[in-house]
Amino acid sequence: MISGKLFERIESLRLENVTKKYGENFAVRNLNLEIKGGELLILIGKSGSGKTTVLRMMNRLIEPDSGSISINGIDIRKFDPIRLRRNTGYVIQNIGLLPHLRVSGNIGLIPKLEGWKEEKIQERIQDLLNFVSLPPQVFTDRYPHELSGGQQQRVGLARAMVMSPPLFLMDEPFGALDSLLRAQLQDEFYRIKKELGRTIVFVTHDINEAFRLGDRIAIIDNSELVQVGTPQELIFSPSSNLVAEIVDSKRKYRHIDALKVKDLAQPLDKRYILDSGLSAASVLDHMSAEGLEIALVFDSPENSGRVGLTDVMKAVSSGKSLDEALKPLPLFSPETPLLEALLRLKTGGGSIGLVLENDKPGGILFSDRILQNLV
């Protein structure tokens, strides 16, 4: 038996000064990158940028010319490459299912070589097929050529998961699928990623896929690492024109899926926040003095509201209290997806929302400001 677990979980995967040359050309040049345990790191770049080479060095399919790669502080050259690969889930675009083996044979190959008992292998195959949404009674005995592209990719994923590896390396796994199927598999993969909580390095050339799935994104161009950061960091502070171009910073609305309320909220301006229980007249004075068109009342999430200048004026002239003039105020957490926040603002009929941090006002979200920032 070659295997046994090399590591229970990944604390860090670190590349230091990694260089790989083919002849005179650099495939990877002096690359430094640290992948944190449990994150999904995207390697993105044009074809030929070196991103796949970086990935393939992580399971020693390619050995770097210089520099080192370490997992949890141990240089991976100290590991037997076969053992390292069996502790790593590997999925590629072409999947590479063995055509002469059935789905069960493909998923069960490594466990069989590892000397697992037959019942345990079968049980694992059933579990995994269920996990990737392929009913075992239908798919266990099929040959790869009897599967659609999406089904093959699911089997590929199940095969990669069979040894419960703490690390996954994925090279454009959805690259060959049509866009509809790709979106569906991305959604499913996002769910799987959350359930597994494993460390994943994911190569793609599709920036939308990168933003959709990645916790952090490393941009590789011309064999070098250009910038690494969260989607928000890349969109709002690209380190170079190249990064701005890749993430399409000028058209941030394209990435609205990847943005959260905290990315576009304005810092809290105390003038907008009123104590509850004030009289309409004093609020009118305050708003006129500060030149506010709108004000927010916040005591607690249950006791909050927004009020416009005209509403206050009407309340004063009709002798109503401020509370009667209040309209509901949308409240958001900083982590609320931006799109959801915008939809709630829209259905609420307002253009302003309050961002709460630990139940206290922490920022304000203006729909028109969002628009200005995105376009």
Binding site: L61, I82, T88, I92, I95, L97, H100, I110, P144
Partner: protein, 204 residues
């Protein structure tokens, strides 16, 4: 007229000669293929040698054997064996190495050793090509076995040559028809084996 017993005897001899040479060819092919797997240079040398023997006319190969090891059954086996090496080696080699490179890549990636890749991927993939090669080699061996009559290999060849020198049509046919029969039998039987060994996913 030739006695039936004599014809049977000759046919049997012919079959023994053909199968012995074929078996010898396969036995020689196996280690050569393993050597090829370990070194690309060795592989190219072996392929070149096999192609060279193939390029020399069969008759010349048969004749060439005589000054080396004389005449008789064993020299005949050797001559035939040399001729059948190319189809067996070449087809096996092509079958083993013409595997989709992404398949090899994926298999390495999931942690198969080189030997496991050979056993679980290259070999199953190569079966159809290997058996196509052996079938061709068997038919080739049968036809060259006729020629080896000239160096005392026995079999059906002597009957045919005797018929030719005496313009004896009946004798020629007496020798030729069993040879054709054997060829058809070889083709049929090896086709069946080939079919059986073809992986299910390649069958139509």
């Amino acid at each position: 007229m030739i006695l039936t017993a004599e014809l049977l005897q000759a046919t049997l001899e012919h079959l023994v000669l053909t199968y012995t040479a074929l078996t010898a060819g396969i036995l020689v092919t196996i280690p050569l293929i393993f050597l090829s797997l370990y070194s690309a240079r060795l592989a190219s040398m072996i392929m070149r040698f096999a192609s060279l023997v193939q390029a020399v006319p069969s008759f010349a190969v048969v004749a060439f054997i005589v000054p080396l090891i004389g005449i008789g059954f064993m020299p005949a086996v050797l001559a035939i064996m040399l001729r059948v090496l190319l189809p067996t080696i070449k087809n096996t080699y092509i079958g083993l190495f013409n595997v989709d490179s992404t398949l090899i890549e994926a298999s390495k990636g999931i942690g198969l050793t080189d030997f496991q890749i050979l056993k679980h991927i290259r070999l199953p993939n190569a079966y159809p090509a290997i058996f196509a090669g052996i079938k061709f080699a068997a038919i080739l061996a049968n036809s060259i076995a006729v020629l080896t009559a000239l160096i005392g290999g026995g079999g059906l060849g002597p009957i045919i040559f005797e018929g030719l020198t005496n313009f004896n049509t009946v004798k020629i046919l007496t020798g030729v028809l069993p040879v054709i029969g054997i060829a058809l039998f070889l083709d049929f039987s090896f086709s069946r084996i080939e079919q059986r060994l073809t992986p299910e996913y390649l069958r139509k």
